[in-house]
Each structure stands twice: as C-alpha cells, then as structure tokens.
C-alpha cells in the first residue's frame, strides 16, 4: 500500500503502476492492482469525503488505475519500446509487441516451442468448451484414443487436472489453464468464439448442402424422366 498515492505526481503514479505490473509474474487483475496501491485507510478516507457508495468508489478507483495503464501504454508506444502492457487471462502483463515478438520466435529455442498439432487444437477446443471434462468424454467426441494428446497438453501446461468425476473409475477432470488463455490471447473463457454461432453455422452449411443435393437429385430425375419421355 502506498501512502497518499493520489497526492503523488502523476508521472510517479504511472511508474508505480508500471513497476507492480513488471514485478508480477502472472497477469495481475485490476482489482488486485488497485488493492495493492490504495491503502485501506485512504480508501475509507476517500469514502468519507465523497459518495458513501463503496461499490462506485472502488469502481472509480479502478477506472483511475485503468487510465494510468492506458497512459503507460501510450508512453511505451511513443518511445518505441518493443514491449507493451496487454490485458490477458484476467489481468495486466507485459508482452512483446508482435513486430518484435517475431524476432524472438526466430531464436532456436523458440522454434516449435508451443507448436500445436491439429489433434491438440481439436482436443483443446473440446476441453475449453466442455470443461470440466474427462478423457473418456473427450474420446467419445473425437472418436479416437486421446491419451497421448491429453498428456502432451498437460506437459505444455495448457490443461490441468482439477479433480475426479464421481462416475465408475473416478476419471480425472480436465480444465484449461491461465497458460492456455495467455497462449490464445484471451482475457477469459468468455472470449472464446461463440459455440452457438459455430453450431448454427455448421448446421446451416449441412442443410444448405442437403438442399443443393436434393435439387440436383430432382433435376437429374427430371432430366432422366424427360429423356425417358423422349425415348
């Protein structure tokens, strides 16, 4: 907690926010960041002087910190730093700017580091949308053995075991990790592509195929019958 944070120079305020994000190993959520900066005593003092509504006050503070982050981002861009602050996996963290990230990806130890195969993506997609899910349930959807893929996803720390299902055999339940969100640039699971949209897209496509096939079939029949008639 920083004493009299709001009485500090704005420049210093920005540096404080920046250094906390820098020091945090994992993306730091906004409310946590705010909590760290604003002491309780200060919070209560602010509450007494302004609106008595606690909720709106803390929201107001978060918005203030958010503005500071926005200013830091602009500074980093103006000074052409190769990194910036992004919001991912429910918090703020430093990340490379894509242009410079490309350079990192050329380094030998980065090549193929987190390369995902089709099978892995498929399995990840199933786990992401159906979590918590067991291996037999994954295999039911994929129609094929998925042990190795699940293991390699565990190795890559993209999924984790969160418990066991109360069914015969008590199989492990798998869920995605923060690492998964970070790798896919998602702030939360809500940002996953909408499953219902994809569902209706697939169904529409299938129906459209069905209709065109029917029309083709009918036309062929028509031609056949016409030919029969002429013959």
């Amino acid at each position: 907690m920083i004493n009299k944070f709001f009485e500090l120079d704005k420049e210093i305020q920005r540096r404080i926010v920046e250094v906390i994000i820098f020091a945090s190993e994992e993306p730091i959520p906004l409310n946590k960041l705010t909590e760290l900066i604003v002491s309780n005593s200060e919070l209560s003092r602010l509450e007494n002087t302004s609106t008595p509504n606690h909720q709106s006050e803390s929201e107001h503070l978060e918005q203030y910190i958010l503005n500071l982050i926005d200013e830091i981002q602009k500074e980093l861009e103006q000074t052409q730093r190769p990194y910036t602050i992004i919001e991912v996996a429910g918090g703020f963290t430093f990340a490379t700017r894509p242009d410079y990230g490309k350079i990192l990806s050329l380094l030998p130890s980065f090549r193929n580091k987190k390369r995902l195969t089709k099978a892995m993506l498929e399995t990840l997609a199933i786990i992401a949308y159906r979590q918590p899910i067991t291996k037999p349930e994954i295999e039911e959807i994929r129609g094929t053995n998925s042990s190795e893929i699940v293991n390699s996803l565990l190795d890559k720390n993209l999924i984790r075991i969160i418990g066991r299902k109360d069914t015969p055999g008590r199989p492990f339940l798998f869920a995605t990790t923060n690492e998964f969100l970070k790798l896919f640039g998602l702030n939360s699971l809500d940002e996953l592509p909408n499953l219902n949209e994809i569902k209706s897209f697939v169904n529409e496509k299938n129906r459209a195929d069905e209709i065109t096939l029917k029309i083709e079939f009918e036309q062929e029949n028509k031609i056949d019958s016409e030919q029969d008639a002429t013959e």
Partner: protein
C-alpha cells in the same frame, strides 16, 4: 519405389467426414452401404501398407455394418417397433458434434495464430531449467523425491553398524595342516582332523583333502555312505 500420400485422419469420425465432403454426400441421409464399403476399403488399404488400423477404426467398421444390417430389415417391421429411430441417427449426431468441434478448433487456431508473436516474461525459464539439469547441480525435484530422500536418511542412521569379519582361509594352509598330521600318522579319520575347528575350517579341510587326493598324495576310504572318511597317506606325501 513408389510413394503413397495418405491424408492424415484424426480417427474414424474424421475419415467419415472426409468421405462425406469428398463425395458431396448428405450428412442427414448417408448412403450407408456405399460409405461402409469406402470405409472397409480404407482399412484394407491400411492393412496392405502394413499399417495396423487402430482399434477404433475396427469399432467404427463394426458400427457401420450393424447400421447397414438394420437398414436392410423390412421397413414395416421397424415401424412396428414403436417409434424406433433411424439406425443412422446416433452416428449422424456424433458426426455433427465432431464437425462442430473441428470448426471450433479452426476458430481457436486463428486466435492462436493472431497471438503467436506475443511473448511474455519468463519464457526462458524452461531453458534455464534445462541448463540447470544439465549441470546436475540444480535438478528439478518434487515433494515425493524429497520424502524419499528423507526416508532413506532416517533409516540409514537407524541401522547399527555391523562389522564383517573376513576369514582369510587359504587351501594351502589346510593342505599344510593335513600334511603335518599325516606325516606322523599314516592313517587318520577326517573327523579327527576337524575336531575342535569351526565350520569354515571343516570346509577348508574338506577342500584341502580333495586337493590332496587329486594330487595323489593321499587317498580316502569310506566303508559306506555317510560313514567316517579315513585318509591314508601315500609315498607322494613327503615330496
């Protein structure tokens, strides 16, 4: 030499979807006989290339043939069995669900590619760990290993230190001893030689006796099985 390029399928459902797409089949009205033949041909192709088809392909082949068999039953009979589903329904449902997740995986792959060049702090950690494990000074460990180490440590100190006495018995010594007795007595029983000595010495004397017999310095006589062995010296003994 010839080369065969086989598309990679993620399993039997993937293969079926491939057939449906390639032949522009209607997923809601799959020509089951045709697709079963295609599927079985593919399995035969795999076998002819010495690829063992995974068991799930065989399960799917069986499922397809079961559906095919059901479809061959006269229709009236099926309708009598109250509201029985199209035998293909379950397969179609699974195919569509799989299709949806294939589509989803394409969508998240796009996300992944867009995000490819964002790197976070700490990405070198694995490399550092690798280097450390190569140095063998800082091996990554876990609680279990720690507990094991502790267990062995505790049990090591509990064991009292035992001294192992090594009796350096040499056959030559045994031979010398027997020879020294036999020089004064021409005939002696084995039990007399051994009297007063512990088991290791008795074994030593027995081996020494065999050696002396082999060297034809003595010969042994036993009146019957398990009876007393009597040793006689020969003229070779004194040499």
């Amino acid at each position: 030499m010839f080369k065969i390029i086989l598309p990679v399928f993620e399993g039997p459902l993937d293969l079926l979807l491939y057939f449906i797409k390639r032949d522009e089949l209607n997923i809601y009205d799959i020509p089951i006989a045709r697709i079963t033949d295609e599927f079985l041909n593919y399995i035969r192709l795999m076998q002819s290339l010495d690829i063992e088809p995974a068991s799930e392909f065989l399960v799917m082949a069986a499922t397809l043939m079961e559906i095919k068999a059901k479809m061959l039953l006269p229709k009236e009979k099926i309708q009598k069995a109250d509201n029985e589903q199209d035998p293909r329904q379950q397969l179609v449902d699974r195919l569509i669900e799989y299709q949806i997740f294939k589509e989803v995986s394409n969508a998240i792959e796009k996300k992944y590619n867009e995000n490819q060049n964002f790197f976070f702090r700490g990405i070198f950690e694995n490399d550092i760990q690798e280097i450390a494990s190569k140095l063998k000074t800082l091996k990554p460990t876990n609680v279990l290993e720690l507990a094991k180490a502790y267990y062995f440590l505790i049990h090591k100190t509990e064991d009292e230190v035992k001294e192992i006495k090594i009796n350096k018995l040499k056959i030559e010594d045994g031979i010398d001893y027997i020879v020294s007795i036999m020089k004064t007595e021409k005939q002696v029983s084995f039990s007399k030689i051994c009297s007063g000595y512990s088991l290791p010495y008795k074994i030593l004397f027995f081996v020494a006796m065999l050696e002396l017999i082999k060297q034809k310095k003595i010969y042994a006589y036993q009146s019957e099985f398990q009876s007393e062995i009597i040793l006689f010296s020969t003229s070779n003994l004194s040499n």
